[in-house]
Symmetry: C2
Subunit: 249 residues, 2 copies
Amino acid sequence: MPKAIYETIYKDLKQKIETNVFAYQELLPSENTLIQTYSCSRNTLRRAVGCLVTDGYVQTIQGKGVRNIYQPAAQTAFTIGEIESFQESALRNGHQPLTKVLLFTEFALNESQARSTGFPVGTDIYYIQRLHYLDEKPLILNHNYFLKEAVPGLTKEIAENSIYQYLEQTLHMTIVNSKRIMTVEKMTQIDEKYLNMNAEDYNCMAVVSSQTYNSGGVMFEYTQSRHRPDYFRFYDNAVRSFRGSHRQG
Amino acid sequence: MPKAIYETIYKDLKQKIETNVFAYQELLPSENTLIQTYSCSRNTLRRAVGCLVTDGYVQTIQGKGVRNIYQPAAQTAFTIGEIESFQESALRNGHQPLTKVLLFTEFALNESQARSTGFPVGTDIYYIQRLHYLDEKPLILNHNYFLKEAVPGLTKEIAENSIYQYLEQTLHMTIVNSKRIMTVEKMTQIDEKYLNMNAEDYNCMAVVSSQTYNSGGVMFEYTQSRHRPDYFRFYDNAVRSFRGSHRQG
DNA sequence: GCCGATTTGTCCGTATGTATC
DNA sequence: CGATACATACGGACAAATCGG
């Protein structure tokens, strides 16, 4: 698939920043300069720069320029701003991922389950428990609820490899967005057992609950990810805009 | 201050979505229709819609339209995608905020402090401990490190009210962005004492560490916010783009 | 303090590509 | 296939902030 121009420029600038072609705290070449460099329009260049701002790589200051504020240490952590899988985060950081399926069943949701997942009562779903290992250490216990009618033909074998690959490449589903809520919850005996934890040490888990939507507008997945607290680390960059009102901290 | 056009349109559409002028799962009027409604250009309207996508209010599907996926329940939680203060979150959700200053000192950072904050060794800083109450319940213990040379004249009295108001309105500083890392850490005796917690119940805290930058490009603040785990709740919306590679979960 | 050059921010109109129905 | 809808891209215009003389 052919890449968009702004995407190419974004990746090139990002790579230049990561490899210190532009120094930390230094101003990048001006928009007009970069327009000539990439032979593109102003809007296209600005769009690429806008992506870098969202990533926390640069900050733009009206009347001055675009400053590089990228510091490698912070970016190596898990990133919450994007939809990225356990495996990708792992590989990006040079670790060896592994997934084990603990349970693969299907049933209809009762009232309590419906409330916590966001699906209607009685919805037919696949319920899957999976354990994610990093360098042979179990770190994340996942409880997946997949809408059965949206994910026909799902099997335990697929769950052992990549469910999302199946959704996209076989079912041709397009994933659009994912709403997540992060909380801290008490550790359960299940958590203790599978993650090799001792509740007398840490007695809590970092929990990320997510509802994921496809291009049909249907929420096809609810997942609760329970993370070992001592390995949990999420990175975020917040940009000041009119949308965030004024802080008073 | 005069608002930008796209900002006005964004707020109007947002308000219409929140008040169910457009139903959940319904397609909004097409771009061309909205262009006529607001008498604006295509780019301007698309910018407004793009903000709604980022907020998780709508999803756009090429060839089809813009679908409303706003569900009020999820949005009432704390939102991490924006720079928003404790007080604002509180007031937005109809609660009564209160801040108490536990400690107000200044010193130069030693090596260990420098490593954890990201400031250079020997930097002169204001160190402030503050306790945030919601409806008379202590929920968050904040450790603020402010770069002294960037925040001249800071006093305990200002810290009791609003430091950010002082920065913006008196010092005319412009806050640009904030890099945050969320982790789970063991509860300390200080946490226990001030947040009325018992380590035999929860023994962990939700911790948000942030580095905040102003328009001068200087990181002027490092803050560690320690949240009561049972009241901690952060919301996030992740949008699928070329930047996030393909999931394999 | 003013002015002009530079730089980013906002906005417009138009053209073309691509996905959906 | 055509009609509709969103996605990408271009070029131009003016506003607003910064900085140096």
